[in-house]
């Protein structure tokens, strides 16, 4: 019977679990009821309030083959243990091990509602994959950094389990600062109290930036990938033009389920039936809460210039209009999803002879 306050499960691989090296990388899960290998040092660092009640050992290959499934398997093994904290690794630069540690921590957070802490070198693929899901402490690239890494993990563990409210944060959440506790940012933004007013702080940072002095910004805008502009079209009279719009134009009833805000889907509508040449009563809907829709509803050509394109085709200025109109709603949709929608549309377009696209946006 343990009188320790916090029960810890420690996940390590076949090497640190003292089964062997690559030759044992295919081994499955083994449970031991005490600290093993680096777990002994970790137990010492954690001190009297913590107890490593279980060490879970697994081969790197066995886990890496299907991390989601393996972490589910591990969770089933750990359920009856009911720990307060999961510590994995540290994995340093070992990729398969890092992914396993990240997956284990993520499972602990999601299924067991307990904190997960691991440690990795910044280039470990596990960092990019899991840094938003769990706490990954910074480590060096090899086992030489074991003791400092275990100290970092311990410091964070103590803070998370014993720390209480964080008075620096407006919401008081027990969320330690990544800089102070040396873990990779989880991409979490919280409002903080500061000694300076926001205005003073903003001006100070701006002056530093202008003078070329050092300054730290909490929000670093993503650098956009540069790419080459598509070459201009030649022989316009041989070109087929496709029309796209993010103005949220849909058939009445919105059969494809566009959202007026934060929309994630797109669809194509057959030009002949959606924009009948005789302008027979077609019923439209604008699924887009970002602009006043009445003018486009009254005359959809104001958004999708089919009438003009038909004229140009009849005159031989262009060779043709692609028979499908690509429609979506672009209002406060995350940029990454917008880019994916564009890629999905382009993938569809590549199946046909389309030479250029005119995309209208509101």
């Amino acid at each position: 019977m343990s009188d320790k306050q916090w029960r810890v499960v420690h996940y390590i691989n076949q090497f640190f679990g003292q089964f062997g090296g690559e030759d044992q990388a295919d081994m499955g899960f083994v449970l031991k009821r005490e600290p093993v290998g680096p777990g002994l040092t970790l137990a010492k660092e954690l001190g009297d309030d913590f107890e490593i009640v279980t060490t879970l050992i697994c081969g790197d290959n066995y886990f890496a083959r299907d991390p989601e499934e393996r972490s589910r398997e591990a969770h089933a093994l750990l359920k009856e243990i009911d720990p307060d904290l999961l510590i994995a690794g540290p994995a340093f630069a070992a990729g398969r091990y890092g992914v396993a540690c990240g997956a284990m921590c993520k499972r602990a957070v999601e299924e067991m509602g307990i904190p997960g802490i691991t440690g990795m070198f910044e280039e470990n693929p596990g960092v990019a994959l899991y840094c938003e899901e769990t706490f990954i402490c910074e480590t060096g690239d090899s086992v030489r950094d074991m003791l400092p890494s275990l100290k970092r993990i311990t410091r964070l563990a103590v803070q998370l389990l014993k720390g209480g409210e964080n008075p620096r944060l407006v919401c008081r959440e027990n969320l330690p600062s990544p800089q102070e506790f040396e873990y990779y940012s989880r991409g979490v933004i919280r409002n903080e109290y500061t000694p300076e007013s926001t205005a003073e702080r903003a001006v100070r940072l701006l002056l530093a930036k202008i003078k070329g002095e050092h300054y730290v910004s909490e929000i670093v805008p993503e650098r956009m990938e540069s790419y080459q502009a598509p070459a201009p079209i030649e022989d316009l009279d041989q070109c087929v033009i496709a029309l796209v719009s993010d103005g949220g134009l849909a058939p009445k009833g919105n059969p494809d389920g566009f959202s007026g805000r934060g929309n994630l889907v797109w669809s194509t509508y057959e030009v002949e039936s959606f924009f009948p040449e005789d302008e027979a009563d077609q019923e439209y809907e604008i699924v887009h809460t970002g602009y006043f829709p009445d003018q486009v509803i009254e005359d959809p050509y104001r958004l999708v210039p089919i009438d003009v394109l038909r004229e140009l085709k009849a005159e031989g200025v262009i060779a043709g209009i692609h028979p499908a109109f690509f429609s979506t709603s672009g209002n406060a949709t995350v940029a990454k999803r917008c880019a994916h929608i564009g890629e999905e549309m382009a993938e569809e377009m590549r199946k046909y002879e389309i030479d250029a696209v005119i995309l209208t946006s509101t």
């Binding site: 079209i233 003018q295 050509y301 104001r302 009438d307 003009v308 262009i318 005119i358 209208t360």
Partner: protein, 54 residues
């Protein structure tokens, strides 16, 4: 990838290729002017993002 290289500024937010103040035929002519400009831009070499106006 995020970005665009060829941009033509439309007439307005609520009516990018039209103008409800105009009679219908005039509005269509305006729309045609925009599209002809768009086709010209598609035949123009650009390297950075260029913003064109009618």
């Amino acid at each position: 990838m995020i970005g665009v290289k060829r941009v033509l500024v439309g007439a307005s937010i609520t009516s990018p290729l039209g103008n409800p103040m105009l009679p219908r035929e005039a509005e269509k002519s305006l729309r045609r002017a925009y599209i002809e400009k768009a086709l010209k831009i598609l035949q123009t070499d650009v390297s950075t993002c260029e913003i064109f106006h009618l």
